[in-house]
């Protein structure tokens, strides 16, 4: 079990090395340090997994106390790790995907002047993410939770001289903080009720028969849900994620698709014993998930930025994970989490290769025909496209079908909406692939100006590669693509819906005992029927997208304005913040505070000074106003005291 320490120590060491040597460590070295330590962490995770498998299923929990953190009176919180199937599951895919993306970043960030700073953040991020999933109490989880938030802030705003990046970074952090507000209230409620944040004292008794009052469970569940919505960018706190695409593409792949944004999914899965006692919360989790999925998919149908389309699809996929959790099927949610990590990281990284090849161009209308120039990238993107569109037998299909079965069991309308979302996903992904890789090479016709205008430090860094035609990336970038593509094709095997092959579900079963996660079963006939229906819709969406967008012609009627404005949700919020709220705050600061509160003080001062002048005339001018005040006050109280004593 001590491998858990290695898992954490490796990225921490990487961060420290880069912190200490950021001036001396030159370009590839800084990256390789982090990559190697990332793989060390992955290796340790594998070791831990094997160790865990060697134990009987009922005995796969170990707690490792490190040291006491906040001991005050009866509040005792420590740094401690909990090794169990859920945390090991997250460790495995987080370290695995992270290591591949680190490797990719060495090529992608080549010649960036802040190369070492980038890898410092990456290493810190990995450490925080692992703390988040390994912690043995909710407060320590919160430390990792905020740590990944901070790294996200630093990485979204990595090219800080672009105003859009700086604004997006702040927006991401502040929106996350709204969620953190909920998380903190949840912590307070937990301490009030359980007197502890430890999983062993909060969750374990619930899994073994203890119960919670429904009202309390609902309050706690809703606050946890608010926290999860912030970190996982779910409705209504979702708008920071598309903006976060201002960060470097490996960051979009790692933090804003594969790992960090699934922290909310982890939190809800971890809290399953609490949610069980609040049907309302479960329903709300499902509804928020499906709402986010629907809204995001519709917006993605008209988006023109290669990365923002993927960002909206990430929102939709996480919405699906929430949908599964709300429907009471946590292992399907986690199945989708891991397969999504594979194919979405793959999509982002290949999108990054496209952007890289076209000198920071991100508008899909200025791409086209790239399959001939970027064969490896195209292959990788295409695999990701089919996996995300839930086309059998790719990994995404198995996971989506599992989620939709759970949704169907919960409520048929959840299932219907889910199928529509899947169809939309296949449609807009076809649109993206057609416009980027097929059709005319529009990037030849109107080469945009060098990205330097808004590009800052990064724009100039690829200038070397664009004397000729776009070409595939160096091996450090293509190897991760190939490996992720393989995972996206065959990843489904970890949890097949046949007797005896549901490996992941069985592995996670001790974390979700039947007392708190009752489970359900559908007849084989039903499963086949809804499977065929859903898959058919996916194919239809795929076909429609291909037919409509293969010619590469603009079709304004398919891109209605209200969708291009994202249902006006973000603009409405921004308008309220920039308009009435800003005015109100400004007048508080400069009218109420300056003229009101301080003006009153000035008035009193002037009054006193005036009175002092009058009194000074009477009293020959030796009395200071404040001394007078003290004198009168003291005299008054003396008289009062004397009266009390006398009486």
């Amino acid at each position: 079990m001590n491998a858990a320490y290695v898992i954490l120590a490796a990225p921490a060491l990487g961060a420290l090395i880069l912190l200490a040597g950021h001036r001396r460590l030159l370009e590839p070295v800084a990256g390789w340090v982090v990559v190697v330590l990332g793989f060390v962490s992955f290796g340790a995770s594998l070791w831990l997994w094997v160790t865990l498998l060697g134990r009987p299923a009922g005995d796969r929990v170990a707690r490792l106390a490190i040291f006491s953190w906040v001991p005050v009176d009866r509040l005792q919180v420590g740094f401690g790790l909990q090794v169990d199937p859920l945390s090991v599951f997250f460790c495995l895919f987080v370290t695995g995907v992270s290591s591949l993306i680190f490797l990719y970043s060495i090529g992608y960030m080549h010649r960036d002047p802040s190369f070492a700073r980038f890898f410092f953040y990456l290493s810190t991020f990995l450490f925080s993410m692992l703390v988040l999933v390994l912690a043995d109490n909710f407060l320590f989880t919160f430390l990792g939770w905020e740590g990944v938030g901070y790294c996200s802030y630093g990485l979204v705003g990595f090219w800080f001289d672009r105003d859009r990046a700086a604004v997006a970074a702040k927006k991401a952090f502040v929106t996350n903080r709204v969620g953190d507000f909920g998380f903190m209230i949840a912590l307070f409620l937990m301490y009030e009720h359980f007197g502890s944040f430890d999983f062993s004292r909060v969750l374990a008794p619930l899994a073994h028969g203890a119960t919670l009052p429904t009202a309390f469970a609902t309050g706690l569940g809703l606050m946890l849900l608010l926290g999860a919505c912030g970190k996982s960018a779910q409705f209504p706190l979702y708008m920071w994620l598309p903006d976060a695409m201002e960060g470097p593409t490996p960051i979009s792949a790692l933090i804003h698709a594969a790992t960090m944004v699934t922290a909310g999914v982890y939190l809800l899965a971890r809290s399953a014993p609490i949610l069980h006692f609040s049907p309302v919360t479960m329903w709300l989790v499902a509804c928020i998930g499906i709402t986010t999925a629907f809204v995001a998919s519709t917006i993605a149908c008209v988006e023109t930025d290669i990365k923002r389309i993927l960002a909206y699809s990430t929102l939709a996929e996480i919405g699906f994970m929430f949908l599964a959790e709300g429907s009471g099927d946590f292992s399907s949610a986690l199945f989708l989490t891991v397969t999504h990590a594979f194919f979405k990281a793959l999509l982002f990284l290949s999108a990054g290769a496209v952007i890289h090849a076209l000198a920071d161009e991100q508008d899909i209308w200025r791409m086209g025909g790239l399959r001939k120039y970027l064969p490896i990238t195209f292959g990788a993107f295409f695999v990701g496209y089919l996996a995300l569109s839930a086309i059998p037998p790719f990994a995404g299909w198995w996971a989506h079908e599992a989620v939709l079965e759970a949704a169907y069991h919960k409520d048929v309308w959840l299932w219907v909406t889910g199928v529509v979302v899947d169809g939309l996903t296949a449609y807009y992904m076809s649109r993206e692939v057609m416009l980027v890789f097929f059709g005319r090479s529009r990037w030849k016709e109107q080469r945009p100006e060098p990205a330097g205008a808004g590009g800052g430090g990064h724009g100039g860094s690829h200038a070397d590669g664009h004397d000729g035609e776009p070409h595939d990336s160096p091996w450090t970038m293509t190897v991760p693509l190939v490996l992720l593509a393989i995972a996206a094709v065959v990843g489904g095997v970890i949890d097949l819906p046949f007797p005896g092959t549901d490996f992941l579900t069985r592995f996670l079963a001790p974390v979700f005992p039947h007392t708190v996660v009752p489970g359900f079963s559908l007849t084989t006939g039903t499963r086949v029927a809804i499977g065929i229906a859903g898959t058919a819709v996916n194919f239809i969406g795929l076909a429609v997208g291909i037919v409509v967008w293969l010619p590469g012609l603009a079709r304004p009627r398919l891109e209605p304005g209200f969708l291009r404005h994202g249902w006006y949700i973000d603009e409405g919020v921004a308008g309220a913040v920039a308009g009435p709220l800003a005015v109100a705050a400004d007048s508080t600061a400069y009218v109420i505070d300056r003229r009101g509160v301080d003006g009153l003080v000035g008035g009193i001062a002037a009054l006193t000074a005036g009175a002092g002048r009058q009194l000074r005339r009477v009293q020959t001018g030796y009395v200071r106003t404040y001394a007078l005040g003290i004198g009168i006050g003291a005299a008054a109280i003396l008289i009062y005291a004397a009266a009390r004593v006398g009486g």
Binding site: V72, Y150, K170, F173, V174, A589, D593, V601, V645
Partner: protein, 556 residues
């Protein structure tokens, strides 16, 4: 009476900087500039060594006052040289000793070094005395004397509007102190009636204050509160603060915000609540409300500030309101969090003012609109700034979170909805800090912003201890909490006993702490106690405060 060290260390701690100040004043005028700085530095280093000794020798798991010195001073009025330290004041001494040399040596000082060093040393002595006084007269003198060096530091070395700011600072807080002084006198005279003779001793007054009619207690408490509220400052008594802190030179801002800021909250805790627990608990809802208003209103006003230094000054108002919330929530966690937050705030705000001062030295402006893109040319300065900002907005793993979280989690037990409103600060704090950071450090640098020098070695060395503190206190606050908590628990038991307040508790069984003999110093005989007030402190009601053994162990 001396401490177990064999010499009265607290008295020495107070007089060392005072002696340094006198030496500085006596230096010959020519070539005194460098010499004065040397004298100041040496004195403050000696002071650090002394306080370090104190921290090391301080007994943990003990609730009462340690290193007590108690000598008659003005016997006619019952005024004594009565000093002692407990878990609540221990780390305030430590942060004082740490912050002063950094403030003295870190930022560049414009003006006459000799008088600057002299006033700084004098201010340090006054702050130390304020934190260790257990005699109300002594406390009041020290509390007021801090204003004098504060005034001269602002008016002598400050910005353009320094005279206005210094006068406002002095008169406003002095006006508040008038109420404080009246309240102290009233307390002493009213209690003198029971005790037979006047005494300013905190412990004597505490022993008898509970016998006063509750209306009297409340009036006295309100008087104390007004004095402290101006000093804290609580909204709406805050308007002297932005002017004073913004106009003060960097060094003075650091110590004014880092140390003097805490005097009010400390006084409230040490004197207000300890002496008059019943009045304090009765008035707590009112005071909590004021503090909550301070948090929300302060945050809104902070967001819109256009001057970076003023923004940080306003942010301090929010932080200190948190301390007040913690104090008046009356739980072990919230008060410990409040005390911890006092130490935190010294580190964080000290560092923030230092950093803003560095920007001033490079750009000669605090206006946010004139700054921008500084991260390009000053990456290390920016990295330090973001670390300190993250501490200020309570990122777990840094010191700010521990204090903030303890305050909130404790407050939630007694005043749930107030805690919820206060928690909104996690959002607003991020808004004002990160928006300011974005406008100053992000974006494209133009003009002079593009070529500022990064942090110098001297500046980095000066700020390093603060950064180390920020991280250490965030990761491993246990040694600090273990020293603070016993005193807080003791205070709370006293409040519970005297006011009948029930403090809700959650979690593991509590540990018990011993109260050393120093604590029992002034308490009258139990015979007298039972004669005068059978109702309040009789065994039937609880335990006699004078009883030794354990204070905790079995709160009802």
């Amino acid at each position: 009476m001396t401490s177990h060290l064999g010499f009265p260390i607290l008295t020495v701690i107070i007089f060392v900087p005072l002696a340094g100040a006198l030496v500085t004043a006596a230096l010959p005028a020519p070539r005194s500039e460098q010499l004065a700085k040397t004298v100041g530095a040496v004195t403050m280093l000696v002071e650090i060594a002394l306080v370090a000794t104190l921290v090391v020798e301080f007994k943990t798991r003990t609730a009462g006052f340690q290193f007590v010195s108690n000598q008659p001073w003005i016997p006619g009025f019952g005024i004594r040289w009565f000093v002692g330290v407990d878990g609540i004041s221990l780390f305030l001494l430590a942060i004082t000793a740490l912050l002063f040399p950094i403030a003295l040596l870190g930022p560049k000082v414009v003006g006459q070094a000799k008088s600057f060093v002299g006033w700084m040393l004098f201010l340090e002595a006054a702050c130390m005395l304020t934190f260790v006084s257990l005699d109300l007269f002594l406390f009041f003198v020290a509390f007021e004397v801090t204003l004098v060096p504060g005034y001269f530091l602002i008016s002598g070395f400050g910005g353009l509007r320094r005279n206005y700011a210094a006068m406002k600072f002095f008169v406003y807080t002095f006006a508040g102190s008038a109420f404080l002084f009246v309240a102290i006198l009233a307390m002493v005279f009213l209690v003198g009636r029971y005790d037979g003779h006047d005494s300013f001793s905190l412990i004597t007054l505490t022993r008898w204050a509970g016998h006063l009619p509750i209306a009297d207690q409340e009036w006295i408490f309100i008087g104390l509160f007004l004095g402290f509220a101006v000093k804290i400052p609580l909204v709406p008594f805050h308007s002297w603060l932005p002017d004073a802190y913004t106009e003060a030179p960097t060094s003075a801002s650091m110590v004014l915000a880092g140390i003097l800021f805490k005097l009010g909250a400390y006084g409230l805790l040490r004197f207000g609540i300890f002496m008059l627990p019943e009045a304090a608990t009765r008035l707590a809802p009112l005071l909590l409300t004021l503090a909550i208003i301070g948090i929300t209103y302060g945050a809104v006003v902070t967001i819109m500030q256009r001057d970076f230094k003023r923004l940080i000054a306003y942010a301090s108002i929010v932080d200190v309101a948190f301390i007040v919330v913690g104090i008046f929530a009356f739980t072990a966690q919230s008060i410990t969090g409040g005390v911890f937050e006092m130490v935190n705030h010294g580190l964080t705000t000290g560092a923030l003012f230092f950093l803003v001062g560095m920007i001033w030295e490079r750009r000669h402006t605090y206006r946010i609109s004139e700054l921008g893109g500084l991260q390009k040319s000053a990456p290390i300065l920016s990295a330090i700034m973001i670390l300190v900002i993250m501490s200020a907005i309570g990122l777990p793993g840094l010191n700010g979170f521990v204090g903030e979280f303890l305050v909130l989690v404790g407050t939630f037990l007694t005043d749930r909805w107030w805690a919820v409103i206060a928690t909104s600060a996690v959002v607003t704090g991020a808004v004002y800090m990160l928006w300011a950071y974005q406008r100053v450090f992000h974006g494209r640098a133009v003009g002079a912003n593009a070529t500022i020098p990064d942090i110098t070695l001297r500046e980095a060395a000066a700020i390093a201890p603060l950064l180390a503190g920020i991280i250490y206190l965030g990761v491993y606050p246990t040694p600090f909490l273990n020293r603070i908590t016993p005193s807080v628990d003791h205070l709370l038991s006293h409040v519970e006993l005297a006011s009948g307040l029930h403090v809700p508790e959650r979690g593991n069984p509590r540990v018990s702490y011993t109260v050393p003999s120093a604590q029992r110093v002034d308490l009258p005989s139990s015979a007298l106690a039972s004669e005068v007030v059978p109702a309040r402190l009789s065994p039937a009601r609880g335990r006699d405060l004078a009883a030794t053994k354990t204070v905790a162990g079995g709160r009802q």
